[in-house]
């Protein structure tokens, strides 16, 4: 009886997982379908297929400005977040120090916090300081939430890092800078790289924080939300599909790169 249960269980789990995966991607498929119509409104089954709205969307200057704002914010957030999170992860996972356990929980707190409330709180705080909100304040808002996530991602790599490697390099007469460049960074590289990928994508896709902190500037998710609420055009699913496919290419490309480098290293060694 037990043996028979064992045999079909993995199969059942596989089917269930496939169903969940379909559930996850069904809305993206619907978005893709809705972007491929020629008419102004979405009606299924689609009678006139076409790429008209793709052309219109990319020709629009407004959309170009949006993409530029979103990408600029995401790039700057990535650069700053990785540096802060690198040090944070070392404090999180490498050293034993008094207060570390409290520090770890403090770092987790912003992740376990409703983002819409955090966005509002930041808006009030900027207001109290007399700072005008714009895409620059949005960078700061994104950092508050992105840095803790990236710290966790890098920490997982730091946990598996053997401090004896650094100590050996010091014993052999390497300077602090040499140790960082020749030992620490190469060993932690995969963690830093996935951290950067996370930072970029999380900032790129963020809506609740941007909503309250961008002021007069608009990011892609904000624009799409505004259009969903009022003034739907098939340009909305076009941008949605672009976001999804762009994230997929970055993520799969990044993962492939990590695999390639790892394979190259083991091959060389």
């Amino acid at each position: 009886m037990a043996a028979r249960t064992q045999r079909w269980m993995p199969w059942l789990i596989g089917v269930w997982t496939a169903a969940i995966t379909l559930f996850i991607y069904l809305p993206s498929i619907c978005g893709l379908l809705a972007s491929l119509t020629q008419s102004r409104y979405f009606n299924f089954p689609i009678t006139k297929w076409g790429l008209v709205w793709w052309g219109k969307t990319f020709a629009s200057l407004e959309v170009r400005a949006l993409l530029e704002t979103s990408i600029t914010i995401a790039l700057i957030v990535t650069a700053i977040a990785v540096v802060i999170a690198f040090f944070g992860a070392i404090a999180f996972a490498r050293f034993d120090w008094k207060g570390r356990s409290a520090f770890q929980k403090l770092v987790l707190l912003p992740i376990f916090f409703p983002q819409s409330v955090l966005g509002l709180a930041l808006l009030l705080w900027f207001n109290a300081l007399g700072i005008e909100t714009s895409w620059k304040t949005a960078i700061f808002a994104h950092l508050v939430w992105v840095v803790p996530v990236v710290t966790l991602v890098i920490s997982i790599q730091v946990y598996s890092f053997d401090p004896a490697l650094e100590e050996a390099a010091f014993d052999l007469g390497a300077t602090r800078w040499q140790v960082l460049r020749e030992v620490t960074l190469p060993v932690l590289w995969p963690g830093l790289f996935s951290g950067a990928l996370f930072a970029f994508l999380l900032s790129w896709g963020n809506f609740p924080l941007s909503l309250f902190t961008t002021g007069a500037d608009t990011t892609v998710p904000e624009y799409m939300y505004a259009k969903m609420v009022a003034g739907y055009t098939p340009g909305v699913p076009v941008l949605g599909t672009v976001s999804t496919v762009g994230a997929a290419i970055l993520l799969l490309g990044g993962y492939g790169l990590i695999l390639l480098v790892r394979r190259g290293r083991t091959g060389a060694a």
């Binding site: 037990a2 059942l12 789990i13 269930w16 997982t17 969940i20 996850i24 991607y25 069904l26 809305p27 619907c30 379908l33 809705a34 979405f42 009606n43 299924f44 802060i84 040090f87 944070g88 404090a91 999180f92 996972a93 008094k98 207060g99 570390r100 403090l106 770092v107 707190l109 912003p110 992740i111 376990f112 916090f113 409703p114 819409s116 409330v117 955090l118 509002l120 709180a121 930041l122 009030l124 705080w125 109290a128 508050v144 840095v147 710290t151 997982i156 994508l201 896709g205 809506f207 609740p208 892609v220 939300y225 969903m228 609420v229 699913p237 949605g240 994230a247 997929a248 993520l251 993962y255």
Partner: protein
């Protein structure tokens, strides 16, 4: 006196300059300015007189009085209730996938993980809008039903059920990954030993796997519960405002009603609820063990 102060200052600087503390400084500064201070300013605003826009005034309890006197408790109940239902559904549908990721998928586990991570990077209202296109009248589901089978059904959009459906959909990865971490913490030998000693599959699950995987499951529940309480897009995009959760009340207070202090007071109550819960649960956990320090 001055010398003593200087000595204290120097020993504080020395303490801060130890390796652990030193590396923690940048992120602590960021969280101080970007997390602690904004929360304090929300707290400050919640005591400002209604419909004012400056922090520097005589404090009053007026806003909290309004919240107790009016029907805001309904929004809190809706938010809490929908979050609890969401978490329960997520535990049930995620466990088999988490078990598969940790145990039976082998080489496929990486691919499945990537597929489940990807949606996290697309903003949630875009993904929810995909469901609107699916469920709306004349959309993918109802349009197909009508043209293929000639059945005309009412759309399920704009009901409380569809809001919970949306939250289950959006927060699924946040349950799945902590849970997978939990399940992979169960040593294989222990479950094998239990079966060898004659335990049935159900007994192994209940007496061995579940308790050992509990830390991951609890973290997943906590994370999804908190996110579901803070959810706003689901009720607006799918729910069509049939149900008003607290987050929506807060947003209304800040936008249409132009009553920042009332919104701030609501946000403070929500923060106390969520923060208290998170701290109470996190206190019991040893993060080093869960995140994989040997």
């Amino acid at each position: 006196m001055a010398m003593a102060a200087e000595r204290v200052g120097r020993s504080l600087a020395g303490w801060l300059w130890r390796p652990g503390q030193r590396h923690a400084i940048p992120i602590l500064l960021l969280l101080l300015i970007g997390f602690a201070a904004p929360l304090l300013s929300i707290l400050g605003f919640s005591f400002a007189p209604p419909r004012t826009f400056s922090l520097w005034q005589l404090p009053t309890l007026e806003n909290y009085r309004t919240i107790v006197a009016e029907t805001f408790y309904q929004s809190f109940l809706w938010s809490l209730g929908m979050a609890v239902v969401t978490v329960v559904i997520l535990v049930l549908i995620c466990y088999p996938v988490a078990y598969g990721l940790a145990r039976t998928f082998g080489r496929w586990a990486n691919l499945v993980t990537l597929l489940m991570v990807l949606p996290l990077f697309v903003s949630e209202n875009v993904r929810l809008y995909g469901w609107v296109l699916f469920f709306i009248k004349g959309g993918v589901l109802l349009g197909s039903l009508k043209s293929l089978l000639g059945i005309d059904v009412e759309s399920v959009l704009f009901t409380p059920g569809i809001i919970i459906f949306g939250m289950v959909y959006v927060y699924l990865p946040f349950m799945l990954f902590p849970m997978t971490l939990g399940v992979s913490m169960v040593p294989r030998e222990v479950t094998e030993a239990a079966s060898d000693l004659g335990a049935s599959r159900l007994q192994v699950f209940r007496e061995v796997e579940l308790p050992l995987a509990m830390p991951g499951i609890v973290i997943g529940c906590l994370l999804t519960f908190v996110l579901a309480i803070g959810a706003i897009a689901e009720a607006k995009v799918l729910g069509g405002q049939t149900v008003i959760p607290v987050t929506h009340d807060i947003e209304i207070a800040f936008t249409y009603a132009q009553n920042w202090p009332l919104g701030a007071a609501l946000a403070v109550l929500m923060t106390l609820l969520v923060g208290g819960l998170v701290l109470a649960v996190l206190r019991r956990f040893d993060l080093d063990r869960i995140l994989g320090r040997r």
